[in-house]
């Protein structure tokens, strides 16, 4: 079975693993107060050109989203997000478990628009019964989105402006940010400048685990470590996060992995299109959503793992193929050849 079902099927990229092995015997203070976390934090601040930003390392994405959102909102506030957003669909209500409503907005391509923020807020404050409704308190988006699509820098600037117009912190979920950096014109300093907080995801780009949160807004950064601890995100051997991110940020490894995941996915995309299979959504990143004839799907399932996404019609199904740091040329070649032969 060749696995294209997600981007976290294998362990760590060799350079990450090597760093872990090499530092295994070092004795460090716990809870992220070790020299590795310190260095990784400094490197990330430098890459973001944000010398004052807070940097925190957490284990996983759901935890990170719930922690940042809980840190930002007062109890009567909710977070604006597209209907397909990860926090709205795939985190078993972790945001609601912290007491907050996800204010879901429609979107065809997984992207929120600046216009939607303005409209939602305007309608909220125009409503006579506004105090009976959840107050919009934050904007959440993911880049790339759950559908693999990306924002342009211009779009992000408009969203940031809209959020600031309504005094809403902007939070970018970067679980797949290395691919987003590879496939858009948005760079780390843009995120640090335009967002109140964002994270650079490691889990889906070759780390064993780990998400690096950058908090540009000092009010949000205040006491943030208390919130990490409360949400169960403060790893005892926090150095494991520091060690991995040091390696990840060294010599642009994170960019290289993002570019490689994306490039492999583009080869798959070309093969789907050459075969005449439509794309459920046109994604420029490491998730690809071809619409397959059910017969072809069944044939491919014998040799490849991938995710069933949505029923397209009686005889077609949208599926998701994901590439990861460990996807080999041979894996992709095999799949392309099998598609061609179908």
């Amino acid at each position: 079975m060749i696995r294209f079902e997600c981007d976290y099927t294998t362990g760590a990229h060799p350079k990450i693993l090597e760093a872990l092995v090499n530092t295994n015997g070092e004795a460090c203070p716990g809870y992220g107060e070790d020299p590795h976390c310190e260095r990784a934090g400094a490197m990330l601040r430098e890459l973001c050109r944000a010398p004052e930003a807070g940097v925190h390392f957490l284990v996983g994405g759901t935890q990170t989203n719930a922690t940042v959102i809980a840190a930002a909102l007062r109890p009567h506030q909710g977070v604006l997000c597209v209907e397909t957003g990860h926090i709205n669909v795939h985190e078993t209500g972790a945001v609601e478990a912290s007491g907050h409503k996800v204010l879901a907005l429609p979107a065809e391509d997984g992207k929120i628009a600046a216009r939607q923020i303005d409209e939602y807020c305007r309608e909220h404050y125009n409503n006579a019964a506004w105090e009976h409704m959840v107050q919009p308190g934050m904007v959440y988006l993911s880049h790339p989105t759950e559908l693999g699509t990306v924002y342009t820098l211009a779009e992000l600037e408009q969203i940031s402006a809209a959020a600031r117009r309504w005094k809403l912190p902007l939070f970018v979920d970067g679980a797949r940010l290395p691919c987003g950096l590879a496939a858009s014109d948005i760079a780390l300093p843009d995120l640090a400048r335009l967002c109140d907080a964002f994270y650079l995801g490691g889990t889906k780009a070759g780390l064993l685990f780990g998400e690096a949160v950058v908090i540009a807004n000092p009010a949000l950064n205040k006491d943030f470590r208390y919130l990490i601890k409360q949400h169960g995100g403060m790893l005892a051997k926090g150095r494991l996060l520091g060690v991995q991110f040091e390696a990840f940020l060294t010599d642009g490894l994170f960019l290289e992995i993002g570019r490689r995941e994306t490039a492999q996915a583009m080869r798959l995309r070309d093969a789907f299109q050459a075969k005449g299979w439509p794309l459920f959504v046109d994604s420029p990143t490491n998730q690809q959503f071809p619409v397959l004839p059910n017969g072809a799907m069944a044939a491919l399932e014998e040799k490849y793992s991938f995710e069933v996404w949505a029923k397209a019609d009686k005889s077609h199904t949208a599926v998701r193929f994901c590439t990861g740091w460990s996807t080999t040329d041979a894996d992709v070649d095999a799949l392309i050849e099998d598609i061609r032969m179908l």
Copy 2:
């Protein structure tokens, strides 16, 4: 200003007020453990033909909804509800503040359908990532709905069957139940038989305040008073609720008020239709939603209070007129005449 903006503009129905005045000097135990609450509970059990049901008296609807839902759900569960449902829109996220997602379903007329429950649950358990999604844990509906529409007994039976098929408690918000009883073929014993919990609303039908919760499901009733207290719903002078509901339930006063509110609304409905104004939604109860030319709206606003509901088009607006226990024939006559003259 003649007020049609809601059904809680005035104090209590004379019989309710009289009961409060007459019992004012009695010394009773607190927190609903007084003879009045006991008698009112027994009367309601009798009216529901549910001798084993739990009956609890709370102050208001938001509190009641949040308390019942929190009592029923485990942390990973959410409550199925139409998008326009009160808990989804107008309770400032009280359900989410208890940790639970409202699983909102589309509906044009404010009503949930048995089919939607089946579909949602089937899709949930068919999804490979089901444990990453909020589990449906309860069904909530209001009768009448936020749009004034009512369920038929046949519909409620189907919904109850669907809910039981998936082992979901069914909870009916009866904030305006007296009107629902007047305008549908559903009677109190049907609710006690088909629901796990429901409430008979007093606030919108002539009480100063008060909602009587009937809990037919013993598992849900267990320890319910702890939850009332935790949610701030245990009135110190609980006898005020008992006294009011005793009067409300005596000689069918609650039914009489429901019928009267509904009848006054039907007179308004006829006037809107006679004028040729379409109805935003066709409601058989005390909330009426005509679509007014903006000029007519402005003219009526000088003399009457009512609620702007939705913009219909550039020159028309859907509004809501509500009748209440204290709406007089003269109030309605005046409005009908003014409409005719416009």
Copy 3:
């Protein structure tokens, strides 16, 4: 049965009831946005000499405590309170249900000391693992306390100074504030000056229900009505609160009731002491805690209701007698005579 078990056994003081009856037919906007609430708010601001303060009317004390505390704290913060505090013991964990720990401090007389605030905060920030512990985020006290004791103005000033030293909002639970005003040198303007928020309790001083929250701190007042609604505390017929507080605040009725409750309790206190019964705690307000021989307790229980408070030793029990607005001279005379005769 003559009831001394609590201060909410009967309905409303005649002047309060009269106001409710007289205004019953008025049609008002809902949710506290009516002229009565407006006037009562203005009267209270005037009495507090706090023209900028927010004033909000809620139904009950548990609800009020939970709402104010939730409004003030970030998720990692807790509220300092004595072990016997109402929020720590008698609200079924309503504060925890909002996500916050009650940081309980020992106290023999039910009173928190400025010194304890300083010590707790100093220790917290000196602890190496401070971020692993709940951060003190607020100071809560009740005046009078659960044990009937009161603060002096000097004590309150010290507490306020300590709270401000650590940037902790100070919140005073005034469920029995009318008695506190009668039995201490603290006046309403002192509370408005020294606290961030406090409330004047009506339920235990002759209203049907109702607590008037005064919020002196603008940051805490911001969006407070959203929180009231979320906590189920926004009464639909909010005018009932306004009407009652208008009467309560007129011509010092609240002070008169507080003084009267306290004076009746002092007569009981004298009788206990004349009998040679020790006081479990020496309370100058409407709650009295004599330690009774068990035989005397059993004898009194036949004619009077009162609360068993704590076992003193094998043959003695501390109990609580409460006077209320409706406690008559005859009630007190009868009890005094029966004590004398035992």
Copy 4:
């Protein structure tokens, strides 16, 4: 600096690291549904002689505690725990953040007694205002405790019987269970038989991270994976937990590490006692709490890291020395020699 400040200063035990390296390239399904987790679960069930138990692998202890407790309690319930319990002191209110009060009981040696459970419950249900108080809903203890002390099998049997008498699930925090197994007569099958849930901690015994939860009570196990996900504890590359626990459970490695940590600590204990330093608490496991003269403390701090625990008197301080999987004979020898020479 030789680090005795905690038991998680270094990376993984060589056998654990080797397993991670050897399996790094395998492609597995995510979220704990891989063959390694399956095998490790089967091994643990076998070791517990609990073929029907649920086994789940989480990343850290705070997360595990919060998840198990949230899974077990209804909203009005709290968890009984000694005042020094980890959930009461060192998890930044994670239990309260899930809505539940920690019901803290006094204890000198960090241990809860069966008698305390009985007393607390009896008092709760005897109290007239019981519904106004948090209901005891679970018993939590740690073995070893925060103070390094352990339960005997007889004590655990009594506690289990008391918990079952009151229908309270019993949950054992085994963050340091390998040491507990080494230093008490309690074995894994005893825990599976006497508890509703417990966990075997890996983080403090040579894993990079990871806690294995065994849930013997099927009602508590139901839907548990939803709760893991909601609490951010479902590791994407869940195989990392399976791989580590496979190695940990093979040939008794977990027992060997527990024995070794404990043996090193006993050598320190002997040295403290030989020096005449009293023990703050007499611990038979890997945490040792000598009371040091402040001068000696200052001298040792130059070469060793350890934790200041409590001020004993003006000139003495209780401190904590922890041994871990990687504590070498040389580390211990050096410290012993330095103590002797002081």
